[in-house]
Symmetry: C2
Subunit: 183 residues, 2 copies
C-alpha cells in the first residue's frame, strides 16, 4: 500500500496544539519532482452507533465551532493516548448519553479527510442499552442535547441537513440496512 509513494525530504511542525498539530512536508513525487503537503495530525476518534430496543438511534446535538452551527451526530470522542478504542467507545457512550451497552462490536475504521489529515474514526455498534447514569456527564466545555431518532426521522434530518457529517450519514444508512436484514 505504498503505490506512488511520496518520500519526505523535509518535515516541519509549525503548530502543536491541544487537539491537532500542523506540519508541512516537502516531498519527492514518483516523477522526481517536488511538492509540499500541508498535514494535520489528530489523535483519532471513536464513534458509536447506539441502537435502542425500540430501534431508535441515539444521537447528540452539539455546537461545532468549525462550521459555526450545531449538528445532530452519533456520539463520538477523541482517543486518549494509549487507550484502546473499545474503552474510549464505552466511556464516550456513557459520558455523552448516559447509556452503557451490553454488547459493543467494532464495525469499520475510516479516515475522515485523507487529503490533509491523519484522523481515523473507529466506528462501533452498541446494543443492549440501559441507563447507567441519570443523563449525560460531559466534560466541562462540552454541551450536548440527547435525542433518540427513528430511521425515518434521521433520513429527514439528512435531507434538512440537521445531520450533516460523514460518520452520521454513514451510520444512518448502515442502521437502515441492519434493521431491514434483522426484521
Amino acid at each position: 500500500m505504498k503505490k506512488f509513494e511520496e518520500k519526505t525530504i523535509h518535515s516541519e511542525r509549525l503548530y502543536e496544539g491541544k487537539v491537532i498539530n500542523l506540519k508541512v512536508d516537502d516531498v519527492s513525487l514518483p516523477n522526481g519532482k517536488q511538492s509540499k503537503r500541508e498535514l494535520i495530525e489528530h489523535p483519532g476518534a471513536v464513534a458509536i452507533i447506539a441502537v435502542t430496543d425500540e430501534q431508535k438511534i441515539v444521537m447528540v446535538e452539539q455546537y461545532r465551532k468549525a462550521l459555526e452551527r450545531s449538528l445532530v451526530e452519533i456520539p463520538a470522542g477523541k482517543l486518549e493516548p494509549g487507550e484502546a478504542p473499545e474503552t474510549t467507545a464505552m466511556r464516550e457512550l456513557e459520558e455523552e448519553t448516559g447509556y452503557s451497552a451490553e454488547k459493543l462490536e467494532k464495525l469499520i475504521s475510516f479516515s475522515t479527510s485523507p487529503g490533509f489529515a491523519d484522523e481515523v474514526v473507529h466506528l462501533f455498534l452498541a446494543v443492549g442499552l440501559h441507563k447507567a447514569v441519570n443523563g449525560a456527564v460531559t466534560d466541562d466545555d462540552e454541551f450536548v442535547e440527547l435525542m433518540e431518532v427513528t430511521i425515518a426521522d434521521a433520513e429527514e434530518m439528512i435531507r434538512s441537513e440537521r445531520i450533516y457529517d460523514a460518520k452520521t450519514a454513514f451510520a444512518v444508512q448502515w442502521v437502515k440496512n441492519y434493521l431491514s436484514d434483522k426484521n
Copy 2:
C-alpha cells in the same frame, strides 16, 4: 441551528497555506466559561460516485501523505474559488478518470471532520459514462491509478482496508442500495 453557540472572543490565523489555513479561536461557552478551538479552514471538495453501465464503481488509487499509504477512493477534488460544485465534479471526473457523464445528480453534502475542520464534501452520482479522453489527465503533482470495481470487490476492499475513507465507505453502501432498488 445555533444551539449551544460558542461566541468568538478572539480569532488568530496562525497559518495560511496553499490548501488549508489554521486558526485558533477563543470562545465563550454557554455557561459563560471560556475555551480555545483549533480550527482548519478548507475550501471544500466534491466527490463523484460514477457507476458504469456494467454496474461497477469507478475508483482511483492514490498516495495519501497524511496517512503514509495509498488508498482506493471514489474520484474527488477540491473546489476552486467561485466554481459551482457541479462544474468541479464534471471536471474532476474527467481529469481523474477520463470519463464524462450524461447525467450528474447531487446526492448529499457532509462535513468530514466537524470537530476541527470546516471541510464539506458535495457528493454526486454520475451515470451514462463514456470515455471523453484516452485515460486520465491529472495535475502535475497527482498520480492516480484508475480501476472499476464491483460491489462485491468494493466490500472486500473495505474489509481489507484498501478502501479506508469515509466518503468511499458511504459511497459503496449507497451504490449497493441503489443497485438493489434498481434491479
